[in-house]
């Protein structure tokens, strides 16, 4: 006599709500939606710039509407989450070894954060802050 095998039913659409770990994973993955949408905003800005002074002024106005501010704050939150999750796996993604010595993960991660601060400060300086 054979019994039906036990099949655990897992929802293919909402499985990630089951554990905080899965939610953090999905938050990391969903960061791409915000990064992609922001890239779209940059493309539109570039087009407006190429169309002349008036079009650009309209773009600057649109950027300062409440909807745009909320979008950019949300995008910033997800972009920062992308940055931290990306840097924190760098020792696994590209381990460094000199001779027999393995460079500690904390050094690799720390170097990324240091570089990030330099790049951010440089871009803010170039922008005129």
């Amino acid at each position: 006599m054979s019994r039906n095998p036990y099949i655990r039913t897992i929802s293919s659409t909402s499985w990630w709500l089951a554990q905080p770990r899965y939610i953090r994973y999905m938050a990391r993955e969903v960061s791409c939606v915000l990064i992609g949408a922001y890239t779209g905003v940059v493309v539109v800005g570039l087009l407006r710039l190429s169309e002349g002074a008036e079009a650009w002024a309209g773009f600057l106005e649109a950027i300062q509407t409440p909807v745009s501010i909320v979008f950019h704050l949300l995008a910033l939150a997800f972009a920062l989450y992308h940055t931290t999750t990306w840097f924190n796996v760098t020792p696994k993604a590209m381990p460094l070894q000199f001779g027999d010595t393995q460079v500690p993960g904390s050094v690799i991660i720390g170097a990324h954060y240091a570089g990030w601060i330099v790049v951010s400060a440089l871009l803010l300086f170039l922008a005129g802050v």
Partner: protein
Amino acid sequence: MARSNKPIVWSLFAAGGTFAAFVTPVMIVITGLALSFGFLPPEALSYERLSGLIENPIAKAIVFLTIFLPAWHAAHRLRITAHDFGVREDGLVSIVCYGLASAATVIAAYALLSL
């Protein structure tokens, strides 16, 4: 061995992810929030200043990378994430994701060359 486009999309995902990690947060602050919150003087993003800056080929290259790399990173990750959300039509998803990234790339190149 079967040919695959995996190395291409994967390397763009990795390069784009690294670029986005370093550059995207500060770019969001500069282009999206600085004016509203007053971190930047209004003339910093004036038409005169930016249309002058963008004539420099190095500036063009940086702006192109700022669009091209994160776009392909986001496209590849979105394709994979669609599967995690239960969407199983990978062929259609790929066309939409990579299509959007291609459109962003082409429009960016066109706008930069016409500036």
